[in-house]
Symmetry: D2
């Protein structure tokens, strides 16, 4: 079992990244900082004669991370009750990626991928983060990905997530489960 | 009463734009194509010593559109059950704008602004678009803006929104109301 | 095409009933006042040796209304952001009904039924009624019923729904569609 | 600090009750089985000349449990993605209770009450139970009650909740917190 984490924050050592680190403590994994990639917003050319055109940016690294792993963790700060804009742009481009000839196995591969969401916010995230979870659910349903679990954490100041005992205890449980699968199926 | 519309699609004459045009038929308004603006993703510097830094891009035009109008219409395609990434980046930057000294009246002005959301999608938007509406609600609540109405429209092919009789009838009602206020309060 | 409406209010001529009447103006249909039926709350005996037991109340009338119609309209006031308790008790008993030998075709019949929800509330129903719509969606999905449309209306005083122009215009559109199908397929 | 739990299941030792027992292990509390009370559905007489009338049933016991405690736990099975009908009928009657002269302090007392929700279902409760949590949030907001936490547990067969490690770990955390407050403030 191989694991990749997409980090959606604009900060390093953001609370969402710290939560992901807790989930993955002692587990080998790939970490992708979305903020360090150049990702163009989607240009919806589905309905044009030519269809989607190749985009010259770093999105291939995103595709690669999806393709080479079995578990994908989306770790995002909650900005305005939703994922960060840079993660949203990355997600939007999936509409292109699943239709592109260069990645013939992409759609098929996703069906075998387990998705996990870690989202950290400052304004009642365990209530006001629920619509975000529902959107991820609809997205994973559409892509036939298995949405195995999510954690909504609370934090305002940098590092605050490490004081959220509920999020931490969920993270530790998830860590145990992933460790177990990792050792068993690698 | 002055009205601005933010268009969140990557296409011109997108279904969300057509819906906005129906809502605003015969009403003078400002139209802002987000796709034509350069807007950097937010860089969350709230917790640094220096705080937020001035960003050299087109965001001042966004601020201006907010400041000079009384009704703001957010017209977005539904990409992956949420607003488009380019609109999300624009929204994210509000965290910066409401804290910046250059716009001392911005936060105060928003309290007098009426917000309207028009969102068009292809996969059961009137159900699967509900989390997006809830997120806008939380956002407008936070900013003390009045969320007066929304329309969820259904469309797949370009122009399809003009066949969605429910969305069109809601748009016409809204058009009448805005026309009435426009004439009364201008 | 045959239509039945379940009225979930404790009042006669409630706002939710008035909305249903608008939707069904000029269309023959069956009206079931849940408040006039004796319906026991579900007794969850799924996991006992004997299983569900026959309940001596009016629930057979509910089953009959489902079985004899092709369109079922759920018209409910929004009490505490959800359907009324008497409608909820009626819905809960479906868990029994779909497992009972006395109604062998019940589950199969539901797959051909179109469901419509009309819900009227006083506290921002078009926002705070959204979770109720999502619950109906999950319910109809589980039962393989088609959820064709819903209307969220606003009303506080008796009769107020007749001033909600958005709900009324949606109701008239729905009336036209149902009339058309009614004449075509009866 | 005094605690009451409302049990919304039709079964004894239901999964939702077992979850409540875990949360309250070693903590003195009052347990109210809604199924053992006679509670009439609400009769909405707000708009009549006479207003609400006294109802001859066991609702006073519900009021009493609210009044005599500082923490109220709502433990319910998830039936059709919502609380059980018997709990809903109990909640509906709050509309009456907050307007009745017999309980002059009721509304005021609620503002000091902490609310906790425990809900257990069999069909992806951590996703499909989210609308229920949102409805509780709106309800507690309306009543000015503090919604401190919730647990969504998964169970199908009787006793299954004891295998849901995530729900159990959340329950244990909550137990510690309640124990601490209980000892500190009693």
């Amino acid at each position: 079992m191989k694991i990749a984490t997409f980090i959606g924050s604009s900060r390093t050592e953001s609370n969402s990244e710290l939560l992901a680190d807790t989930v993955l403590k002692g587990i080998k994994h790939q970490k992708v900082y979305i903020k360090d990639l150049t990702i163009q917003p989607i240009n919806d050319l589905r309905h044009t004669k030519t269809g989607f055109q190749t985009v010259d940016d770093d999105y291939d690294q995103v595709i690669k991370a999806f393709m080479e792993n079995d578990v994908i963790i989306f770790a995002t700060p909650i900005y305005w009750y939703s994922m960060s804009g840079i993660m949203k742009n990355m997600i939007d481009r999936l509409s292109h990626a699943i239709r592109v000839e260069r990645y013939p196995q992409f759609k098929e591969h996703l069906k075998k991928v387990e998705a996990i969401v870690l989202a950290v916010g400052g304004d009642e995230p365990r209530i006001k983060g629920l619509p975000l979870i529902q959107q991820f659910q609809y997205t994973f349903d559409f892509l036939n990905m298995r949405f195995s679990s999510y954690i909504l954490g609370e934090a305002n100041q940098p590092g605050d997530i490490l004081k959220d005992s509920q999020a931490l205890s969920q993270a530790e449980l998830l860590n145990k489960r992933l460790k177990f699968s990792h050792n068993t199926f690698k």
